[in-house]
């Protein structure tokens, strides 16, 4: 049933459904739409009926009608209450499916800046148009180099803000080969309305060919290898070992995904944002047992290099069992069964 919905063409209200979550979204949309039509017709109908039936006969009229009824008040509060609670739960479940990146999704970095998009793949390839293989879950890691933007593909029912200083994440799985509009949805200044590009969904073979053709951006290194180079060349290794032995600073081994305890006793799990913060603003999170001696790398390290460090830390941590940003593997199994959202 949902598969049929997902293949539906453009309707009066919605664009064509071209991702695995679109069917569930459209189901709720249509439910709320028809519920709204029902209430609007009911309310307007009653209003017009009363206007006709109780139209003023004479300015001397002194009508007397009922002025209160607690039973009626409670009675007509109940249906809308039940309806909005159903819609709340339905919307929340749909949102979780849209929000929760499935395991094994192929990662693409999305970098937004005034007023263009850059999409970077694990092999170092990058482009201003997003190419993705069909029927494959695609995980997006979003970062902005200047102001807030928002990644929006109506046909996939996907939108996520692209915020500077944060790595927002979202995902989609396109269900049909084709070209789709990709908009910036958060106002970002003069060229906001020109920050429109395409998502090109193609077969896995075409996608591989595309990657080969796009060439390499990181000179043949994977991001984790870039991170390792940064570790050597920026002097991180002077204080941070990778063999598990603490130096002036804590070792990098098994840091990613572990819980850190700070000097003030507060805990925090070391995720992407924690790593970025520690590079740019090291005084903010000083780990228990260490001194606040590390200089900031603000302005001395490029965003792709921070990404490299993050990937490198992931690669040497037993607390991280997710995917690494890597060249698209020829052997990744196609995910035709779809997302959690498509299982309902």
């Amino acid at each position: 049933m949902l598969a049929i919905l997902a293949q539906a063409e453009k309707t009066l209200f919605l664009p064509p459904a071209r991702s695995t979550v679109a069917g569930a979204h459209d189901g709720l949309y249509n439910f709320v739409l028809w519920m709204s039509v029902f209430w609007l017709v009911l309310i307007a109908g009653v209003m017009i009926y009363f206007v006709i039936k109780y139209r003023r006969k004479s300015p001397q009229d002194k009508p007397v009608g009922p002025t209160h009824s607690t039973a009626i008040e409670l009675g007509w509060t109940l249906p809308p209450l039940i309806l909005v609670m159903i819609i709340f739960v339905w919307g929340f479940r749909g949102f979780m499916d849209m929000n929760q990146v499935p395991n094994g999704a192929y990662q693409v970095l999305v970098s937004a800046s005034k007023w263009s998009w850059t999409f970077t793949y694990g092999g170092g390839e990058n482009d201003s148009v997003l190419h993705v293989p069909v029927d494959t879950p695609i995980s997006l890691v979003l970062n902005s180099t200047d102001v807030i933007h928002s990644f929006y593909v109506p046909d996939f029912r996907v939108k996520k803000d692209v915020v500077p200083g944060r790595y927002n994440k979202t995902w989609f799985q396109a269900t049909e080969v084709g070209e789709y509009n990709l908009f910036c949805a958060e106002y970002c200044g003069q060229g906001h309305s020109a920050m429109v590009t395409k998502v090109i969904v193609e077969s896995r073979e075409d996608f591989l060919a595309y990657l080969v053709e796009r060439g390499k951006w990181w000179e043949g290194e994977s991001p984790a290898e870039v991170g390792q180079t940064v570790w050597v060349e920026k002097g991180c290794k002077q204080c941070h070992s990778v063999d598990g032995v603490d130096g002036t600073g804590p070792t990098w081994k098994d840091v990613f995904g572990s819980e850190r305890k700070f000097a003030d006793g507060s805990p925090r799990v070391a995720d992407e944002e924690y790593i970025r913060e520690s590079v740019l603003n090291p005084g903010k999170n000083v780990v228990q047992g260490f001194d606040n001696v590390m200089p900031t790398f603000q302005g001395q390290i490029k965003d792709p290099e921070i990404t490299g460090v993050i990937e490198y830390l992931k690669s040497i941590s037993t607390h991280y069992d997710g995917q690494l940003l890597e060249p698209f593997p020829v052997s990744v199994p196609a995910e035709n069964s779809g997302s959690p959202g498509a299982q309902e």
């Binding site: 453009k10 209200f13 569930a24 979204h25 709720l28 949309y29 709320v32 519920m35 209430w39 609007l40 309310i43 307007a44 209003m47 009363f50 206007v51 109780y54 003023r56 004479s58 001397q60 009229d61 002194k62 009508p63 009922p66 002025t67 209160h68 008040e73 809308p80 909005v84 819609i87 709340f88 339905w90 919307g91 929340f92 749909g94 949102f95 979780m96 499916d97 929000n99 200047d146 102001v147 807030i148 928002s150 029912r157 996520k160 803000d161 915020v163 200083g165 944060r166 927002n168 908009f183 949805a185 106002y187 200044g189 003069q190 060229g191 906001h192 309305s193 020109a194 429109v196 740019l280």
Partner: protein
């Protein structure tokens, strides 16, 4: 009862006054008698002139930007350049900023609230008349700062001032935020004044549950104004501190967090949505009672729903940030509370409909606006259900769907209730009747024009048209052209209203004391009221007990039967 009998003894009641009488308008003359006035009615009129001027400015921006979008459909006529992009961005920013801060927020409380609230209480003025005048000067100072923004390079941040864009643009952000800051004080002072006035100046015999519902609505609004507006002031000050002193608060380049700004901003601006709509709802309650000529149904439910909306309105700000990357847990909580606001809103609609049941419904112009309000607010509210649902908001956020939704609520509902209220109290404010036929034609143009303009934007947004776009893909051209044509119809309707009002001031027939038969206390004094509001203390009874007012054809108005009123009041106590 002794109160009422004392009043009866005190002498003849209200009635018609001779043509040579003085009223608050001709009570004293000269510019200074206005600029230094402490009379709430004169301050209300001064607000009216200023706020309607701002409305014209913000409205013209809207017509200009819709015209640009129409012409975009023919690219050889209007090619998109950096210049036209900038112009468009400035127009939508000024349209939003002017109309939100200088029109929608002050319109009903500052004009109609100032004018009517003390009259409804049978009081001579608000509790703090000097503070009231100060609030008008704050408004004018804020307006002057906005004028400066217009002349000094404009503003292109959107009315939301989102960081880090707003701290990086070269337009006049500092002046505009200072303008909003000062306008905020005008709002706070009015709210403070109304709270004090309602607490202190209710006449003997008017308990909380004998207040007209417009006062309940103004009271709820004032609570929000006093509690939420300072947060906006703090936010704007922090923004200035960051822009001028480079303290990192919101800008990630300085170590700040841009999403923090959104939290601060919406912590004020979402409650502000209820500052905009609650007073309008209060007007609708008055109109429904008077033009159905009977007691409102569910008085206490309507009154408490205003308070419930005001309080719940503080807890839903996060629903503006569902796509910002805030946690799924936060999203779920904000979504749930957002849905809970739907309930008191629905209660109001149902109670108004029930008030029509077995009433004597007049289709005078103010009532037509009340009926339009029910249609528009129902659509605005129901489309809010789409946006409250998390998965649907992901799709609709920052598209024309949202634009259409908040225009239905903030313009459709709030503007119709404001115009309806202006028509309702116009005879009281100026002592003149307006031309009913012209007023109804204008209503028709506004109702049709509004729906033409904005309904189609729900479809454009659902199809994926993002908001704040100076340009669009060819598949969206039909929606934009259609909407622009609708906006012209709407604009013509609004100009006819303005013409209708000005015409009535010059040529209008003299208004009777009570043209509609309402029983709230403002109808117990002459039109326009004297400087001190009442010739003698009005008789306080149930606000919607209208059976003591009899229609008199010779004046086309209603005259008060005091003995009948006392009799009805005694009956209601048995």
């Amino acid at each position: 009862m002794s109160v009422i009998q004392d009043q009866v003894k005190s002498g003849g009641y209200g009635g018609q006054h001779g043509p040579g009488e003085t009223n608050y308008i001709n009570h004293s003359k000269g510019v200074l008698s206005w600029l230094l006035t402490l009379d709430h009615k004169r301050i209300g009129l001064m607000y009216m002139v200023a706020v309607i001027t701002a409305f014209l400015g913000g409205g013209l921006c809207a017509i200009a930007l819709r015209t640009m979008l129409y012409l975009r459909a023919a690219p050889d006529v209007a090619p998109i350049t950096a210049g036209t992009q900038d112009l468009y961005n400035q127009l939508f920013t000024l349209h939003g900023a002017i109309l939100v801060f200088m029109f929608i927020i002050p319109a009903v409380p500052a004009i109609l609230g100032n004018m009517i609230l003390p009259l409804m209480l049978g009081a001579k003025d608000v509790a703090f008349p000097r503070l009231n005048l100060l609030s008008w000067y704050c408004y004018m100072a804020g307006a002057t700062l906005f004028l400066y923004v217009l002349l000094s390079g404009g503003l292109d941040t959107g009315w939301t001032f989102y960081t880090p864009y707003s701290t990086s643009t070269t337009t006049s952000v500092a002046a505009a935020t200072m303008g909003a800051f000062v306008l905020g004080f005008s709002s706070i002072l009015t709210g403070l004044n109304f709270i004090a006035t309602i607490h202190m100046l209710r006449p003997a015999g008017m308990g909380w549950f004998k207040m007209p519902l417009f006062l309940w609505a103004l009271y709820a609004t004032s609570i929000i104004q006093v509690l939420a507006t300072p947060v906006l002031a703090i936010t704007l000050l922090l923004l200035c501190a960051e822009t001028v002193l480079h303290i990192g608060i919101f800008d990630p380049a300085l170590g700040g967090d841009p999403v923090l700004f959104q939290h601060f901003f919406w912590f004020y601006s979402h409650p502000a949505v209820y500052i905009m709509i609650l007073p309008g709802m209060g007007i609708i309650s008055e109109l429904m009672a008077t033009f159905c000529r009977r007691q409102v149904f569910g008085y206490s439910f309507i009154a408490f729903s205003s308070i419930a909306i005001a309080l719940l309105g503080f807890l839903v700000w996060g629903h503006h940030m569902f796509t910002s990357g805030q946690s799924a847990m936060a999203n779920a909580v904000f979504s749930l509370i957002t849905f809970s606001v739907a309930i008191p809103s629905a209660i109001k609609i149902f109670n108004w409909l029930a008030t029509m049941y077995k009433g004597s419904i007049s289709l005078a112009t103010p009532m037509l606006y009340a009926l339009a309000f029910i249609w528009l607010f129902t659509i605005g509210g129901l489309t809010g259900v789409f946006l409250g649902a998390l998965s649907l908001d992901i799709m609709a956020h920052d598209t024309y769907f949202v634009v259409a939704h908040f225009h239905y609520v903030m313009v459709g509902s709030m503007l119709t209730s404001f115009i309806g209220g202006m028509y309702y109290w116009w005879p009281k404010m100026f002592g003149k009747m307006y031309n009913e036929t012209v007023a109804k034609i204008a209503w028709g143009l506004i109702f049709v024009g509004f729906n033409l303009t904005f309904f189609i934007q729900f479809i454009a947004g659902s199809q994926g048209m993002p908001r704040r776009y100076a340009d669009y893909l060819p598949e969206f051209a039909f929606y934009h052209k259609f909407s622009t044509v609708g906006s012209y119809v709407l604009a013509i309707g609004l100009f006819v209203v303005l013409f209708n009002w000005i015409h009535s001031l010059i040529y209008g027939r003299k208004a009777p004391q009570n043209p509609w038969g309402g029983n709230t206390l403002e109808w117990h004094t002459s039109s326009p009221p004297p400087h001190e509001n009442f010739h003698e203390d009005p008789l306080v009874t149930e606000p919607y007990e209208m059976r003591a007012w009899d229609y008199d054809e010779s004046i086309d108005g209603y005259v008060f039967d005091k003995d009948k009123a006392i009799e009805l009041d005694q009956q209601s106590h048995h």
